[in-house]
Amino acid sequence: MPISLITDMAAETLGDRVALGRSRDGLTHTALRRAALGGAGLVAASGHRSVAFVGVNGPVVAALLFASAYAGVPFTPLNYRLSAEALRVQLDRLDDPLVVTDAAFRGVVGDRRARPSEDWIADALAAPEHEPTAWDDDATAVVLFTSGTTSEPKRVLLRHANLLSYVLQTVEFASADPQDAILVSVPPYHIAGMGTILSNVYSGRRMVHLPAFAPGAWLDLVRAERITNAMLVPTMLSRLVDELGGAEAGTSSLRQLAYGGARMPRPVLEGALRAFPGVGFTNAYGLTETSSTIAVLGPDDHREALAATDPAAAARLASVGRPVPGVEIEVRGDGGRVLPAGEVGEVWVRGPQVSGEYVGLGSVLDEQGWFPTRDQGHLDAEGFLFVGGRSDDTIIRGGENIAPAEIEDQLVLHASVKDVAVVGLPDDEWGERLVAVVVPAAPIEDVDELTRWVKARVRGSRTPDEIRFADELPYNPTGKLLRRELRARLIAAGGES
C-alpha cells in the first residue's frame, strides 16, 4: 500500500480544506492530489528512476513526495546547504534522479538538467493524471541521507510500508479541526520534514512553511496565520527564548509545541515553558531509520513531571517519554543482554515503522527485527525512556567510558553557562582527556568554580580536565551539535585555550 493512500483519503474526505499554504489562497487537498497525479505523469514521462529535490521547504515538497509515490519511484530531498561538490556527490549516489531545484541552487547540480521547483506545481496541475500501475509492496518511498555528524552520510531507505505504518499507528485520520494549522520550520531533507507532510495531510491540518528560521519571523507568522501547532529543534527554541528575553510570546492561537531532533537543555525547556504558558509541549524522539517518532513525552507528561514531588516523576521532564503504538524499545548492555530499568546501555527498537536499512549496505536489523539506534539511554520503572547521547560520542578516559551528556547536563544548569559541549581530546596519559567548551552567559572570573560545580554533581573521574571558552558552538541546521567539527577545531587550536 503506497503512501499516496494518504492524499487519496484526504482528498476524498477533506477535499476543499486547505492542505498547504495560507488559508485564503493555499493548495486544497483536492489540488494536492491532482498535482501529485499530474506530477507522477511528469516523472513517468521523464524515464528517470527516482526524484531528487534541492531547495528550501515549501508546498512543492509534498507535491513531489506524493508524485514520486504515485509514479512508484523513490524521493530524495537533499541538503541544500551542502557545498556544490558535496551535492553533486550525493546526486551521483542516487538512482538516475529527475532533479527539481529552486532557482538559487540551479548552478550546483552541474551538467544535469533540472526542472525548476517554482513551476513544478503549476506544470503538474496542467499535466495529464498518471495512471498508477501495479503496486509493489516492498517499493521504496523515500531515501534520505543521514546528517553525517558522526560518520560519512549513509542513504537510509524507507519503504512505503514503514512510513504508512508510522502514520496509521500514530495519527487519527481527519482528526484536526478545520482551523488547525502547523508552522513547519524543519528542512525538507530531515526525517521530520517527511513525517510532517504525511502526518498533517492525514490528520487534515494545514501546513504553513517558514523556510529560513528566524525567531522574529516565526513569531510574526504564528500570529498572522493563526498557527495552532509547531515543531522546533532545540536550537530554534533556544533562539526564540532569547529573543523574547523573559517575556511571554503573545501567540494566542498556539496550542501545541513539539520539540525534538537533538537533546533539549533543561534551562531552554524551562524558558520555553515560561514563554508559552498554556501551550502543550511534546518531546518527540526518533531517527531517520525509524520513520520519525518512536517515543513521545506528551503535554500531560510534562505537566505531571513539573508538578511532581517524587524525584523519579520529576526527572521525567528530561525523558523522551514512552514508545508510540506498534513500537517496542529495549536497552541492551554488553553482549546484547537486555538491561533492567535504570541501567544505561544502547537503545534498541522494533516495529513495522522501523526500516534500519541502507542503500548499498543492506539491513542492520538483528534476527528478531531489532534496530540498534547507537543512542545511549535507559528506561525508568514506568517505561519512560531517557536518551543520553550517541554511543559514538562516548569518551574513553583512562579506560572509563564517559557519556559527555552527563557532564553537559550539569554544567548547563550553572547560571554562568549558556551552552556547553564536552569532548575527548587525545592525551598521552589518559588516552583521552575531558575538555568542556563553555559558551558563557555572563563573564566567568573563577573557572575553578565551574570545575567544583561538576565535581559536586558527578563522579570525580568525570570532572573536566580542562575548560575552554567559545563564543558559540557548531550546530547543523537541525540542531545537532557537530562534535567532530568542534573536536577538530580544538585539536587545530592546540593546547592553548
Binding site: 500500500m1 509492496d137 496509521l168 524543519v186 491540518r205 518527540a284
Partner: protein
C-alpha cells in the same frame, strides 16, 4: 484468505474498501455485510447482496478490530466488517499528541 499488512480488499455488496493494518496469524474469512470481501484486483461476483443482519455503517479513516486483526476503512459503506463471523468494532485509539 491470508491477510497481509498493507493488503487492500473491497466489499462485493457496497462501496467499502479496507487496508490491513494488523494481519491475522492464520487463514481467515473476511466479510462485509455478511459477504466475503475480495482483493482489489479480483472481480466482484454478481448477485450477492448485503445481508440485513450484517448492516452497520462504517466510517472512513477509522480502524476496526476484533482485538487481533486491524483494518483501516479507506472507503465507507453500509455493511458491517467481520472476521470469521465475529464483528469488528471501531478501535478507540488513545489520541497521541502530534509530534511532527
Amino acid at each position: 484468505m491470508i491477510l497481509k499488512p498493507g493488503g487492500r480488499y473491497r466489499s462485493q455488496v457496497d462501496p467499502t474498501e479496507v487496508v490491513v493494518v494488523r494481519p491475522a496469524k492464520d487463514d481467515v474469512d473476511l466479510t462485509c455485510g455478511g459477504v466475503p470481501m475480495v482483493g482489489m484486483a479480483e472481480p466482484v461476483t454478481d448477485g450477492p447482496a448485503l445481508l440485513p443482519e450484517h448492516a452497520e455503517a462504517t466510517t472512513m479513516g477509522k480502524r476496526y478490530t476484533d482485538g487481533q486483526v486491524e483494518l483501516l476503512v479507506t472507503k465507507a459503506g453500509a455493511g458491517a466488517l467481520a472476521v470469521d463471523g465475529s464483528r469488528l468494532v471501531v478501535k478507540d485509539a488513545q489520541p497521541l499528541p502530534s509530534s511532527d
